[in-house]
C-alpha cells in the first residue's frame, strides 16, 4: 500500500525493544495518543540498561501503558485496524514481551500484525507530524539515526528503500555519552548529563579524537569512509582524567564535558557532511535519543544550511524510543504487514541488503 492509501488506518503501536515501555495509537501520521513508561530510574544505579530489569518492567507496565494509550486516543479496541510492534533490533527478552502483547491482541481482535524494524521507525519519527513533509517528497535523503544503541547513516530513496552508508563499529554515540558521563561522575543517562555539564564550558579546551584517522580506514581495518568509532574517545577521556582529574573543579569539568561532547558531535557532523556530498542528497533526516542534544541540533542546522539541504529533526517527544513512530510507520505502509507469527530479531539491521 502507498503512504497515501494507508493514511486513514488506525494503528496501535507497541515498542519494547530496550528500556522504554511504550504504546501509541495513530491515524495515518496523526498521533492520537502516545504513552511512554521510562525505566531510566530503574537502570540508573547500574549506569546502563540491565536486560533482566528491562524485561521485568515491560511485563509489569505494558498492560497499563496499552490501556492508557487506548483511553487517551478516545477509541475502543474494535476500532483498531492493525497492531504494529517492534520485532528488532533490541534486547531479545524485551522484544518478546511486546510481540506477545501484539499477538495476543491481534488474535483476540482478529486484526493483522505489522512487524516493524525499530531503526526504520526511528527514521520515520521525523515525519510524525501531519504538517511535516511526506518522506517521499524529501528523497533522496540522508538519515542519521543516533541513539544509545545505534548510530548509522542511511541513504533513503523512499519508504522501505534504504542503503546503509556507515555505522559505528563499536560504541553507539549515546553509549559514548553514557560512558563519558560515568567517567566524569555525571550519572546516567549520559547525554543530558553531559549536555547540562557542558554549559559555559570551552568546547575547544581538550582536543579529543574524532573517530578513526583517515589512514585507519580501508579494507584492512574494515572501517568504511562513513563509519564511526567512539571507543577511542572514551579511552582518551579516561587517560585525560588520570592525568588531570576534574573532581572539585567545576569550571574544568565544564570544559572537559564540552570538549567531549564536541568530539562526538563533530564526528557525527563530519559523517553527515561527507555522506551528503558523496551521495548528492537533498535532505538530512535526524532521529534517535541523541538527536535531542542541543549542540548536535545547532551544529546540524549550520551544516544543512551550508550544504543547501533541508533538515528534518524528529520532534523532542519522538526522539527517544516511543510507539508513535512504530504505529505511524505501519500506517504509512511500512514494515511487514500480516506477519502474525513474527519472531524477535535482536540483531535486525536496516539497509544492508537494500538498493544495491
Amino acid at each position: 500500500m502507498t503512504e497515501a492509501a494507508c493514511r486513514a488506518m488506525i494503528i496501535l503501536g507497541i515498542e519494547t525493544s530496550c528500556d522504554e515501555t511504550a504504546a501509541a495509537v495513530t491515524r495515518g501520521r496523526e498521533v492520537l495518543s502516545s504513552v511512554v513508561y521510562s525505566q531510566v530510574a530503574a537502570h540508573r544505579p547500574y549506569g546502563g540498561v540491565v536486560p533482566e530489569i528491562a524485561s521485568r518492567h515491560h511485563l509489569e507496565h505494558l498492560p497499563g501503558v496499552l490501556e492508557e494509550a487506548l483511553l487517551a486516543s478516545g477509541l475502543g479496541w474494535g476500532e483498531l485496524d492493525a497492531v504494529a510492534v517492534t520485532y528488532g533490533p533490541g534486547l531479545a527478552t524485551s522484544l518478546l514481551i511486546g510481540l506477545s502483547a501484539a499477538k495476543g491482541l491481534a488474535l483476540r481482535l482478529a486484526r493483522p500484525i505489522v512487524a516493524i524494524n525499530h531503526l526504520e521507525a526511528h527514521l520515520y519519527s521525523a515525519f510524525l507530524d501531519p504538517s511535516a513533509p511526506g518522506l517521499e517528497s524529501v528523497c533522496p535523503a540522508l538519515a542519521l539515526i543516533v541513539s544509545g544503541g545505534h548510530t548509522c547513516l542511511l541513504r533513503v530513496e523512499g519508504l522501505g528503500k534504504y542503503r546503509l552508508l556507515g555505522w559505528t563499529r563499536d560504541d553507539a554515540a549515546g553509549e559514548a555519552f553514557d560512558k563519558g558521563a560515568a567517567l566524569l561522575g555525571l550519572g546516567y543517562p549520559g547525554g543530558p548529563a553531559i549536555d547540562r555539564a557542558s554549559a559555559g564550558g570551552n568546547a575547544g579546551a581538550v582536543a579529543f579524537p574524532r573517530g578513526p584517522r583517515p589512514d585507519r580506514r580501508g579494507p584492512e581495518t574494515g572501517l568504511g569512509p562513513l563509519d564511526f568509532s567512539f571507543s577511542g574517545l572514551k579511552t582518551s577521556l579516561l587517560n585525560y582524567l588520570k592525568a588531570d582529574p576534574v573532581s572539585g573543579r567545576p569550571e574544568r569539568l565544564a570544559d572537559v564535558a564540552a570538549s567531549y561532547q564536541e568530539a562526538i558531535v563533530d564526528a557525527l557532523a563530519r559523517g553527515v557532511a561527507a555522506a551528503v556530498r558523496r551521495e548528492n542528497l537533498r535532505a538530512i533526516v535526524v532521529s534517535g535519543g541523541v538527536s535531542l542534544n542541543r549542540r548536535l541540533r545547532s551544529r546540524l542546522a549550520e551544516l544543512a544550511q551550508a550544504l543547501g539541504c533541508r533538515l528534518l529533526l524528529a520532534r523532542p517527544e519522538y526522539c527517544a524510543d516511543n510507539a508513535a513512530m512504530v504505529a505511524a510507520l505501519a500506517g504509512a505502509g511500512g514494515g511487514r504487514a500480516g506477519w502474525n507469527d513474527a519472531d524477535a530479531c535482536p540483531g535486525l539491521s536496516l539497509g544492508e541488503d537494500a538498493l544495491d
Binding site: S55, R56, T93, I97, S100, L107, R108, A110, D341
Partner: protein, 224 residues
C-alpha cells in the same frame, strides 16, 4: 465458561481450551525456552478444532511458575493482552500446583515435594499435601543448594520435578544417599490441569505475575 489456559514454565509448553471442566482441545509442544513463538499457532489450531471464536474466550488462566522466566513472561503477557478487550479475567495458577496435582492423579502420591532447577547451583521446591481432594501447598517456594536439599526436604514426601533430564544425576544420587523417593521422569504442568485448578470453587487465584526466585541483578549496584 470458555477458558484458555497456557503454561510455558517448563521445556514442554502447553495450551488448553476448556468449557467449564470439559477439555475441548489441548496442545503440548517442546519449547526452546526462549521464544514461545509456537504458542499462538497452537491457540489458533485449538480454536479451529473446537469451533470457538477468539472473541468468545471468557477467561484466561496462565501458569506463573516457577520456571523459565522468558517462557513465563511471554505467556503471561499473551494472556493479559488477550484479556484486555472486554476486560476478561486473568487468573495466575502456580505451575507447581499443576505438577503436584498430576503427581497425585497419575502416581497416587498424597505428599509431594515439587522441585526444579533454579539455575545458579540451586533448586527450587515446595511441599504439597492432599487435603479435601486438592493438592495444597504447605509452605512458600524455597531455594536450596543441592547439598542441603536432602536435609530440608520433608521425609516421606515424594519428589516430582519438571526438570528430570537436567536433575536426574543429582536425584539418583540423592535417592541412594538419603533414601528420598523421586518420580524418575519429568512431571510437567499441563495447561488442562491449570484450567481445572482455576475452575475449582475453592481456588483463590494468584496474581498473573511470574514467580521470581532470583533478584533481577545478582550483583548489587555499584556505589554512586
Amino acid at each position: 465458561m470458555i477458558t484458555l489456559a497456557i503454561d510455558q514454565s517448563s521445556v514442554q509448553a502447553s495450551a488448553a481450551l476448556l468449557d467449564g471442566d470439559c477439555l475441548l482441545a489441548q496442545r503440548d509442544w517442546q519449547d526452546d525456552r526462549s521464544r514461545g513463538s509456537r504458542l499462538f499457532g497452537c491457540i489458533d489450531e485449538m480454536l479451529l478444532q473446537a469451533r470457538v471464536k477468539a472473541e468468545s474466550l471468557e477467561r484466561f488462566v496462565v501458569g506463573v511458575g516457577p520456571g523459565s522466566y522468558t517462557g513465563l513472561r511471554t505467556s503471561i503477557m499473551a494472556a493479559r493482552a488477550m484479556a484486555m478487550p472486554g476486560r476478561k479475567p486473568v487468573l495466575g495458577v502456580s505451575s507447581g500446583d499443576a505438577i503436584a496435582e498430576r503427581a497425585n492423579a497419575e502416581y497416587g502420591e498424597r505428599f509431594v515435594t515439587v522441585a526444579g532447577d533454579a539455575r545458579r547451583s540451586q533448586l527450587w521446591f515446595r511441599h504439597y499435601e492432599l487435603r479435601e481432594e486438592r493438592m495444597t501447598p504447605l509452605d512458600a517456594w524455597m531455594l536450596a543448594s543441592p547439598v542441603s536439599f536432602g536435609s530440608i526436604c520433608r521425609p516421606g514426601f515424594c519428589v516430582a520435578t519438571p526438570d528430570w533430564p537436567r536433575l536426574c544425576l543429582f536425584f539418583e544420587a540423592e535417592m541412594r544417599r538419603s533414601g528420598i523417593r523421586v518420580i524418575a521422569h519429568s512431571v510437567l504442568p499441563q495447561a488442562s490441569i491449570l484450567g481445572r485448578i482455576a475452575g475449582n470453587s475453592a481456588f483463590r487465584g494468584e496474581a498473573a505475575e511470574p514467580v521470581y526466585l532470583h533478584a533481577a541483578v545478582a550483583k548489587p549496584a555499584p556505589a554512586a
